[in-house]
Subunit: 372 residues, 2 copies
């Protein structure tokens, strides 16, 4: 499937949750499949921290640049682009094409850098609603995503209850745990204490806070995998086959984490990392819409739900998904819940797993029938 | 209990596992209680990554400087200094008085720094055996410790089977998991990529790699606590009571971790952090003494064991302690196993908990009776 990235520009200012106003912004997006005459088959896909609007397929001439959810989205796949009109979008504050810290601040003519305002999941959903307006979609057949993307799907059901029929909430939590926030804070401190960060204005110095980004990614990577998955893949294997009794890289897991960190530091913006992790920390529908009670926060919701979790996910464990399910049931909302027995940890939501793919496919087949 | 730190100097070279030779070394230690006439009531206490020989009591004039296991060790406490002669010791490579990277390298007249050799748990046990010789202790009533200290107790039973009657192995693992090594590697990379590390020779530059040490400690701290314990203590509480939508410190957990990191960076040596975490990574009696089989590695062991774990410890989970228990049972060794229902996570081994304290007290009461 050859796909093409597009941009939509919005010139009406966007007032953000924190009070700041974004005077104008662009959203990078891609679409796959065809919007039907009734405009009833659109599905919005939302990405996690590190990803983009490039959800599926490849760009012409770039056969290796495959979308991050290509095993889920495409012709004949669980989110079937022969039946659905699928939209991938990049969030404002990100660094893959939507307006963010690396974009030019119209007020200064220089990159926004540290001045780019803190954004929330609610702000992203508000921005996405403008994209929906632009594409002529009054109501989505579904909004779906994993991890941070799943928080988006949940927020859609709260912010715009009439604008989606289904929400697919995969590997999510209704808000971060203290431990989750702690890990995010270590990653942020790694970035902001890197001397090359320059208070977020490193663009002007021609450097990037590579050390900080590298550490943030190494740490993140560990939390995305289960202990068992890491054991299966790397165990205690040594690069050279024997202990070297030195401080050089020695275990395969060390080498792998360094490689992942190096690669990430080349492609990801440090200010974006801060913004995305803060949005994760802030996400708290119970606190913002329900005085601490998630069931109350979901009182206005009208969508039907598929909630899915993975047994080995210790970052957003199944217990966190069950909190969402309970709050939905408290509101007598239709919800299917699947706890997938998968060994990979949090990253399982990105991987091929027959039970998982079949569960999503079955749910979406029902959604598609109702669109026709 | 007023206590006093001592040093023992050893001038016979110590050949290390990695092949290097330490020409001479000092061990900082403390003793509490009285060695009986039969010299049969000595207990060696071994510390974890961050601690020292200052196990119990306070120094004269320093009432706030309380030993790290003061709730466990002292008159009438589980390790009762009215009955036992207790020895706390600091490991070579550490930074609290024993020879380590901050000590003067006799070959150069400058701090060892990055040239201090990598040491292993086996090397520490070998060095401790010299201290035992010096103090006239042919056989310990017990060797005990938590975490890295527990690995020491286990290694004692392998290296010197005739020199201890009991080993108390608390919150241990028979070797690190891939995830454990991964976390250690992130901490090490935080230190070695800090521009103030200067390849380990930062002493000469009058700086310390504060940023790296701070991150290492923040990350370590998260893994020492359970998610539940962090939730209980900090939840999602905010310093100012409301979201500030900025990148400033905001959640209490962020503030706490930064404080812990700052404090740690003032008192801990960066080279020591590298050495201690490498020793953890290397520890693998099954691999070194049993061709991968822990039961085989313990074939020569003669001690009796108390193995204790904590239900909420996800760093060294109860399952890891049960691996040790199984290998001991395979060798028909006497072993008591206690899985303590405690919410605090790995750090529970340092905390007061009635079941835990009673378990250790009961076990040691039996040990004491046999000394008399």
């Amino acid at each position: 499937m050859i796909v093409e990235a597009r941009k939509a520009k919005f010139t009406e200012p966007l007032k953000l949750t924190g009070g700041a106003v974004l005077p104008e912004f662009e959203i990078a997006y891609e679409t796959y499949g065809t919007l039907n005459a009734a405009r009833s088959n659109a599905v919005l896909v939302c990405h996690a921290l590190n990803a983009s609007h490039h959800v599926a397929g490849t760009y012409a001439g770039e056969p290796d640049n495959v979308g991050w959810w290509d095993n889920m989205v495409g012709p004949g796949k669980p989110l079937d682009t022969d039946r659905f009109f699928v939209i991938g979008n990049n969030y404002i504050g990100s660094c893959f094409g939507s307006t963010g810290p690396t974009s030019t601040n119209p007020a200064t003519g220089r990159p926004w850098g540290a001045d780019f305002p803190v954004v929330t999941v609610e702000d992203w959903v508000a921005a996405q609603s403008r994209l929906a307006d632009r594409l002529g979609i009054a109501r989505f057949a579904a909004v779906m995503g994993g991890s941070l993307g799943a928080m988006q799907a949940l927020q859609w059901s709260i912010s715009f209850p009439e604008r989606l029929r289904h929400a697919l909430v995969i590997a999510a939590a209704p808000r971060l745990s203290t431990q989750n926030i702690g890990f995010n804070e270590v990653a942020r401190q790694a970035i902001v204490t890197d001397p090359d960060f320059h208070g977020g204005d490193f663009y002007a110095y021609g450097v990037i806070p590579r050390r900080g980004l590298r550490l943030a990614r190494m740490l993140g990577h560990i939390t995305y995998l289960s202990d068992d998955a890491m054991h299966e893949k790397f165990g205690r294997e040594l690069l050279s086959g024997e202990h070297r009794f030195s401080l050089e890289v020695e275990f395969e897991i060390e080498s792998y984490l360094r490689y992942q960190g190096d690669k990430f530091s080349e492609r990801f913006d440090a200010n974006t990392y801060l913004i995305m992790t803060k949005a994760l920390d802030y996400f708290d529908p119970a606190g913002r819409h329900g005085a601490g009670d998630l069931s109350r926060a979901l009182a206005g919701v009208r969508a039907s739900f598929l909630v899915a979790s993975f047994t080995s996910d210790w970052r957003f464990s199944p217990a966190r998904s069950r909190e969402i399910v309970k709050a939905l049931l408290d509101n007598r909302l239709p919800v299917s819940y699947a706890e997938i027995d998968a060994p990979q940890g949090h990253d399982a939501f990105l991987m091929e797993h027959p039970d998982y793919q079949r569960t999503v496919a079955s749910y979406l087949a029902r959604v598609a029938e109702a669109c026709a």
